[in-house]
């Protein structure tokens, strides 16, 4: 890869656009879709769409139940997807992978199953100021029931975790859990997780990583990070909506009570007492999203075929190009680290134009971005803004799209000039 210039790399990536049928759609006549809202959800390649269709066409049956051919086929496909996720995040055992609806449900699983069993009155949960609501609210809900406290870890002006403040907070001796995003969905910050996790472990705290914005874009190794829990959403990495996964260290998961009750998660049920199934079934009550899991497996195979390092390098090239362009527009304020230290997204405000108006203006040019607080209200409050506009790239975006975006931002600003 190092032999390729970034320019060559981005050209090479453009070849993958043909894998995504939606990218050939028009937003309105003669206005092609320029999809730059990938941190919200990503588009799906034909390989994933086919895998889902193939599952329903050739093997649909319930898993882990029927002793018949199709149930066995479906079970094999479902478990193959679990193994694909295991390998994707670098876990040792497929028992450490729990399928969920999304990263939000994965975090809720940890918060409720681990939290209610382990948190005591006066215990503390640290949550960074750059967290998505998904990694704040479940902890607040569980803390309230357990009598524990959720404390924010401050971030610096350039959007990094304030490590001195973090160390001080850890020194309370009451911290049991730290909730951290791997990559911020607003700032694009790539947190130095290995260090942050080591610091937590030194005081006996566990760490739950929200990997929703990292897993789609860069190689993940939960063992190298020494993460205790790691949550991801399939739909942000080319898989269908409604499928996600939780990685948890086996010893931790084995010691946790179930999250939801129902079929599949039991060992033996009587009205006197029910005992629970082993991992991972204990945490997968009811019929799971089998086709979604199969789609997730196909998405992982697709992404690995391209290479996560290549995807990351491509997105870094796009964001550097975009941020350089935005910096030339007067009145643009960008939030977060410099372009060489972030993932492929940036949030910004434009003086004189509200984020909704900018987004509507971009939409007229076929460009899809996110406008609002991006489910991170505390972070926006910290920066003293009500809303921002976020542009986020994926493997199929091009330098031409980035240029089109920057030029349109400037055009919208001229339109609204008072």
């Amino acid at each position: 890869m190092s032999a390729l210039s970034l320019e060559q790399l981005t050209r090479q990536m453009a070849a993958h656009r043909a894998d995504f049928p939606i990218l050939a759609q028009m937003v309105r006549p003669n206005v092609p879709l320029v999809y730059l809202d990938n941190a919200a959800t990503t588009q799906k390649p034909t390989a994933v769409l086919r895998a889902v269709e193939d599952y329903y066409t050739h093997m649909n049956a319930n898993v882990h139940r029927g002793v018949h051919s199709f149930s066995e086929k479906a079970t094999a496909a479902y478990e193959a997807a679990r193994d694909a996720v295991r390998d994707f995040v670098g876990a040792t055992s497929a028992r450490e992978i729990i399928f969920t609806r999304n990263a939000t449900e994965a975090i809720n699983l940890v918060a409720y199953a681990w939290g209610l069993a382990n948190l005591r009155i006066g215990d503390q949960i640290l949550v960074s100021e750059m967290e998505h609501h998904a990694n704040i609210v479940p902890w607040q809900m569980v803390a309230e029931r357990a009598g524990a406290h959720v404390l924010p870890i401050p971030i610096t002006e350039d959007g990094q975790i304030d490590q001195d403040a973090y160390q001080t907070l850890l020194g309370s001796g009451r911290v049991r859990m730290v909730a951290l995003a791997h990559v911020s969905n607003v700032l694009g910050t790539i947190n130095p997780l290995a260090d942050l996790i080591r610091m937590a472990h030194e005081v006996g705290a566990l760490v739950t990583v929200d990997g929703a914005q990292s897993a789609p874009h860069m190689p993940i190794d939960v063992r190298a990070l020494d993460a205790d829990f790691f949550a991801l959403s399939g739909h942000k990495l080319c898989a269908p909506t409604g499928i996600g996964a939780l990685y948890g260290k086996r010893a931790l998961l084995e010691a946790m009570p179930p999250f939801m009750g129902g079929g599949s998660m039991i060992d033996r049920v009587t009205f006197a007492k029910t005992t629970y199934a082993d991992l991972p079934q204990r945490f997968e009550a009811g019929t799971p999203n089998i086709s979604g899991a199969v789609g997730l497996g196909a998405a992982i195979a697709y992404l690995r075929g391209i290479g996560l390092e290549a995807i990351h390098a491509h997105e870094v090239a796009l964001i550097q190009h975009t941020m350089a362009g935005l910096a030339d527009i007067e009145g643009v304020q960008m939030y977060g680290p410099s372009a060489d230290q972030r993932a492929g997204l940036v949030s910004f405000t434009l003086r004189g134009v509200h984020a909704h108006d900018l987004s509507a203006g971009l939409d007229q040019a076929g460009i899809a971005v996110r406008a609002g607080h991006h489910c991170a209200m505390p972070l926006h409050e910290k920066f003293g803004i009500a809303a921002s506009t976020r542009v986020s790239f994926y493997l199929y975006n091009t330098l031409e799209e980035a240029d089109h975006f920057v030029q349109t931002v400037a055009a919208v600003q001229r339109f609204f000039a008072r």
């Binding site: 509200h354 984020a355 909704h356 108006d357 203006g361 607080h373 209200m377 926006h380």
Partner: protein
């Protein structure tokens, strides 16, 4: 940019009845949690009529322009007449069709009026109250 026709832009750039009135008889603020838009309405009532109004707040062109336009309409009306205004009236007033997200921007000012002037707590955009 069909959504931003001349009247909308004109009201956005030069909003009518802008600025908080103190003292006043009605003072209420609402927020749109989706985008953080904020709108405050202050009203002076005389002889059961809306005698003076003052808006303040921040938000997108649609929410700000609609507040300005709605203010012009309710000024001079009796409280009961103003209460009868509906979502359809506001949409007719601004003369554009909006998707579900931007609809909330357009109806924020009506919500401030309904909740602030008439105590219709929990008023939603699809309410007929």
């Amino acid at each position: 940019m069909d959504m931003y026709h001349e009247a909308i832009l004109e009201h956005y750039r030069q909003p009518r009845n802008w600025g908080v009135l103190q003292p006043c008889d009605i003072d209420h603020e609402e927020k749109n949690p989706l985008c953080g838009d904020r709108l405050r309405l202050t009203v002076r009532v005389r002889d059961n009529h809306i005698a003076e109004i003052g808006w303040s707040g921040e938000g997108c062109a649609i929410s700000q322009a609609t507040a300005s336009m709605l203010g012009e309409i309710i000024l001079g009306k009796t409280l009961e007449e103003a209460r009868q205004l509906t979502k359809e009236d506001v949409l007719d007033l601004i003369g554009i069709s909006l998707g579900p997200v931007r609809l909330k921007c357009a109806l924020l000012s009506l919500k401030v009026l309904k909740v602030g002037a008439y105590g219709l707590a929990g008023w939603q955009e699809d309410d007929s109250r």
